[in-house]
Amino acid sequence: MNYSRRWMLAAVAIAIVALAAGSGCKKSKVNPFPASGAVAGWEKTGDTRVFAAKDLWQYIDGDAEQYISAGVISTSTSDYKYQGQLEAVVDVHTMGSPDGARKILETGTSDAKAVSLGDAGVAYEQSVIFRKGPYLVRIVAYESTPGTPQALMALAHGVEAKL
């Protein structure tokens, strides 16, 4: 009886590990960046660059530490352009858990406007930040124009749909 119970527990444990591994594998295959034209007006203008946590300082030097302490696994980034003029950058941080994404989102966003994106999101005039599961997405426009907030939200929804 004891033996069979142990075997059953072991089988359950193996199944959980297998599921977790499968889920991790799936995560690494996620491509959250909409292709050019997938979101009206938006063109993907650069290659996707990926930084592991240990190399994150190469991309966000001076700001990497807060992501590392929140458990970032990797950060992917790509440049976009809206209607050939408005430049923006999309950063997708893959955290170790949803808590890590929540921790970053809750830092310094007290004066932001809450938006309906993913599990939670906020928007400013030139940027949108949201989290969905272990992903923390930050989209920043280089300029403020009357159409910037709406264009950013459209792109954010495009990213959210791919996560």
Partner: protein
């Protein structure tokens, strides 16, 4: 320069030619030319610097630079002001800061204005070298890479490489960029005024982290980069070759730096010029604190990241400059 808007756009990739000037051969030249109070700090502003399209107006930036440089040197004419402080036959490095995306990088329009005046003062285009840590960072900041010595050059330390020798000063154990050690006789420091998550404030002295490869990354970042930043600035090549700072406070970050956080950006519309890197950083800190108070944010002290490296840099051991702005020759132009 025939067309400063285009000067970096006509880039041709060619072999990087590394010069072989003496390490501090410029000291005597600077000694002859510079009779300015070493702690003199000029803050020049233009509230109308940004045009209607939200970008800095090219002509107004040039005018602001001229006003800052004439006030700094005491000369009436901007070109004469430049002639007073730079050698004509040596390589002049323009160390920009492009960490944090284009909107909060050293403004290209400012770099173009400086390059124009340098050439009018007699510096050959190929002897002007715009540089940063990597080509990728430069491009992200809106600059175009060019290694052709027939034109103004622009590339990163990833192209030049770093010296094998490890330089040590206090906690700093670093390898220096060959752009600093072998190419440039004089470096103009062009930092951007920003809040900084690790250092509190990044401006004149922190920008020198961009001329080194860190042997021990952690030691230079612990304790809010204190004494790391002060120690790095005491390394002889950095202390002696980086002789003048033209700080870009056209746009600045009062929180969330050094990365571009548009919600925390403001436009001081100013340039800050001086040779005293400590005075410059003290003034930068004051500006950031004033802005934080204005928008209701706690002080950097209250946030646990006051930039104490500034006082360290002024102490008897480091003697990098003056952190008492009452004693500095602060001039508003």
């Amino acid at each position: 320069m025939k067309n400063r808007r285009e000067f970096l756009k006509n880039a041709a990739t060619g072999a990087l030619l590394l010069g072989s000037q003496g390490r501090f051969g410029l000291a005597s030249v600077l000694g002859q030319h510079s009779k300015t109070d070493p702690s003199r700090l000029v803050v020049a502003g233009d509230p109308a610097l940004h045009a209607k399209d939200g970008r800095p107006d090219e002509q107004r930036v040039l005018d602001l630079l001229d006003r800052a440089m004439t006030a700094y040197t005491g000369r009436d004419n901007a070109v004469e002001a430049w002639k007073r402080i730079i050698p004509r036959d040596k390589v002049i490095g323009l160390k920009v800061n492009t960490v944090g995306l284009k909107p909060i990088a050293t403004h290209l329009v400012l770099v173009l204005a400086i390059a124009e005046r340098l050439q009018q003062a007699g510096v050959r285009a190929g002897n002007i070298l715009v540089w940063e840590r990597t080509a990728e960072e430069l491009e992200a900041g809106g600059f175009t890479i060019n290694t052709n010595p027939a034109h103004i050059r622009c590339y990163g330390s990833d192209v030049s490489g770093f010296e094998d020798q490890v330089e040590t000063w206090g906690v700093a154990k670093v390898q220096l960029s060959k752009i600093l050690t072998r190419e440039c006789a004089l470096v103009l420091n062009l930092p951007v005024l920003k809040d900084h998550a690790d250092a509190g404030v990044t401006f004149a002295m922190k920008n020198m982290y961009g001329v080194i490869k860190m042997v021990d990354l952690k030691s230079l970042h612990t304790n809010i980069c204190n004494p790391g930043i002060a120690d790095v600035n005491c390394i002889p090549a950095i202390r002696e070759k980086v002789r003048l700072t033209i700080g870009d406070a056209i746009s600045a970050l009062y929180d969330g730096g050094p990365l571009f956080h548009p919600e925390h950006m403001w436009h001081p519309n100013a340039l800050m010029v001086g040779a005293d890197r400590v005075a410059l950083d003290q003034a930068a800190w004051n500006m950031i604190e004033r802005k934080r108070a204005e928008v209701g944010l706690p002080t950097l002290e209250a946030k646990g990241r006051a930039p104490r490296y500034i006082a360290t840099a002024a102490d008897a051991r480091h003697q990098l400059g003056c952190n008492d702005l009452q004693r500095c020759g602060l001039v508003e132009a």
